[in-house]
Amino acid sequence: MNDINIVLRSLRVRFLASSVTVAMVAIAVALLLVLMSLREAASQAFRRGTGNIHLQISADASPLVSVLNGLFYANAPANPIAWAKYQEIKNSFPWLWAIPTQLGDSFRGSPVMATTPEFLSNFEPVSGQPFQYAFGQGFAEDFQVVAGSKAASEHGLSVGQKIVFTHGTGASREGGHEHADHPYEVVGILKPTGSAHDRALFTNLQSTWIIHAEDRLASAHSEEEEDHDHDHDHAHEHEHVNPEDLTDADKLVTGILLRLPTRPGSDASASIAAQFDRLRRDMAITVAQPAQQIGRLMAIVGDIDWLFLAMAVVVLVSSAISIMLAMVASMELRRRQVAVLRVLGASAWRVFALAITESTLIGLIGAILGAILAFGGSALASTILAQRIGITVAGTIDLRSAAVVMASAIVLAALAGIIPAVKSYRTPVARHLKPIA
């Protein structure tokens, strides 16, 4: 028998109240740890995916929208860039590479990026970590497609499978139509990169231009027929377009990814700022430095993030208050126990210490459970985020932060025990030894 036994039994006697207060502390600690973990992890996750791009060009309304659309597949960019403009930009500077991209189609909700093979060979979704194939290889011919790891697993894709794309992306696919005349063959499946690119599919530009050219021609024929007031059914044959038939109106892109030459072992280039300023003078395009835009995004999100953190701190303080209230609420029973302990030889300071130990123990158990919950919750949250938005948020909990949060919870719990401890200390012994009515 020792003082800790007394405290543990005291907690067991008030099992329900003790459990609730422990749960409150655990939830508060878990919430704080998960938020702190996700805050850093989310920032890193957004930095994945922009990879080794120095500049990104689009015709979107703002650089941030451009990055979110072009590299995180938030929406299909609304405004295209003409192929001639791409050529002009490409030839305006000795870029290490200039990769055109086009977004607009989807496969069962997963975005399809039309691009050149250089996207899969030169672009690195995470700097220093190029795309790797789990199965198959890159697209070499028209109507071949390479699937990101998440897209492949979500839709059960395998090499050799034929799939049909839908015009439009995300929610807009409901209003789109299928390019049923041109099935694509899956020729490769990528390994996971932990970026938004995992949920996309990649094909070449020419295939996309061809199917959209055919759509354009079909649409033009329909309008013509309406103009001629045809009154008979017309089994309209879909007109096939060959690559040489493509016009400038068909050859559109929605983004250009640029990388400047750098010194070996360096990711930076002294010319980035100069090229950024030069390109920005062209009012027809939007130029973004992806890393900078993600930094801005995190600054915006950071404010909300602090709000969540503040809420979690409030929950932590509330849990400490709940410990105090639970202990004060049980004061009548506790005073009788205190009176008996005093009669048996416990000093007033000892019963004070027992109350503080009890609240501290609630904090300690709550903090440990909270940390366990946080590790589990973090893993769950990253799984959900990966499934919902396709970015890998590795919710690793920093041990130093965890120690600080847990220590704070324990100290707060100990402080919460002060009022009940003072009440215990001041318990009039004789009065509480009277027979219970």
Binding site: V343, S347, P435, I436
Partner: protein
């Protein structure tokens, strides 16, 4: 930590009260010019309600503070001890038994007894040995039962065991039979007397029960040595 050496029991009387005055909150004062209980003596303290029986026990135990006077337990004036010193002295030298037992819920019978020993500095091994011995003497069949699972009679035995396990100088029993029928009251008082005798403790029992008069050799009416009077 082992228990400090017990005082020499033959050197001083068990309890020696002199010039004691205690002020009630409601404007009355209890005065006890002199009162003594010898070592190992057993006294029945009788008197009407409000005569000051329980107050006297609380004063002897040092859980009430007197306005003036002395209460010496084996030569030590408990009222002169302060804070933790007084608490520890009480735990080591005075065993208390209450009408409603005041056993701690959530603990076993054994743990209730061990706790009293723990609070006065016995080692865990000593706690267990003494508690098991005390419970065994009082015929507690299952010392590992949670206290709330025991019968009222068994609970009373545990309360007695707790009071005498540390072999205190004095055992104070405040209306220990008030909630029992006459037959069980007699059994209980026999138990308390025997346990106090075995522990070598002086015993003071307060009671309204006239049937207990026949089992005590010394019966003291509170009014014989204490006056309660209104004060301005």
């Amino acid at each position: 930590m082992s228990k400090a050496s017990p005082p020499n029991r033959d050197e001083h009387p068990g309890i020696q009260i002199s010039g004691l005055q205690f002020a009630y909150r409601r404007g009355f004062q209890l005065s006890i010019p002199s009162f003594q209980v010898a070592t190992g003596e057993q006294v029945l303290l009788a008197g009407s309600s409000g005569s000051g029986k329980s107050t006297l026990l609380h004063l002897i135990a040092g859980i009430e503070n007197a306005s003036s006077g002395e209460i010496r337990i084996r030569g030590t004036n408990i009222l002169a001890l302060q804070g933790g010193q007084r608490d520890l002295f009480r735990g080591k030298n005075i065993g208390m038994i209450f009408q409603t037992f005041h056993l701690l819920q959530g603990f076993t019978a054994l743990e209730n007894v061990m706790m009293a020993l723990m609070l006065t500095g016995y080692t865990p091994l000593q706690q267990r040995e003494r508690a098991e011995s005390a419970l065994n003497k009082l015929a507690i069949s299952d010392p590992h039962s949670p206290i709330e699972m025991l019968s009222v009679g068994q609970q009373q035995r545990v309360a007695v065991a707790r009071a005498v396990a540390g072999e205190p100088c004095v055992v104070l029993a405040d209306e220990p039979t008030a909630s029992l029928d006459p037959a069980n009251a007699r059994v209980a008082i026999d138990l308390i007397q025997e346990a106090a005798r075995a522990a070598g403790s002086a015993l003071i029992v307060t009671s309204h029960d006239p049937s207990l008069r026949e089992v005590f050799t010394r019966i003291v009416e509170v009014s014989q040595f204490a006056q309660t009077e209104a004060v301005r």
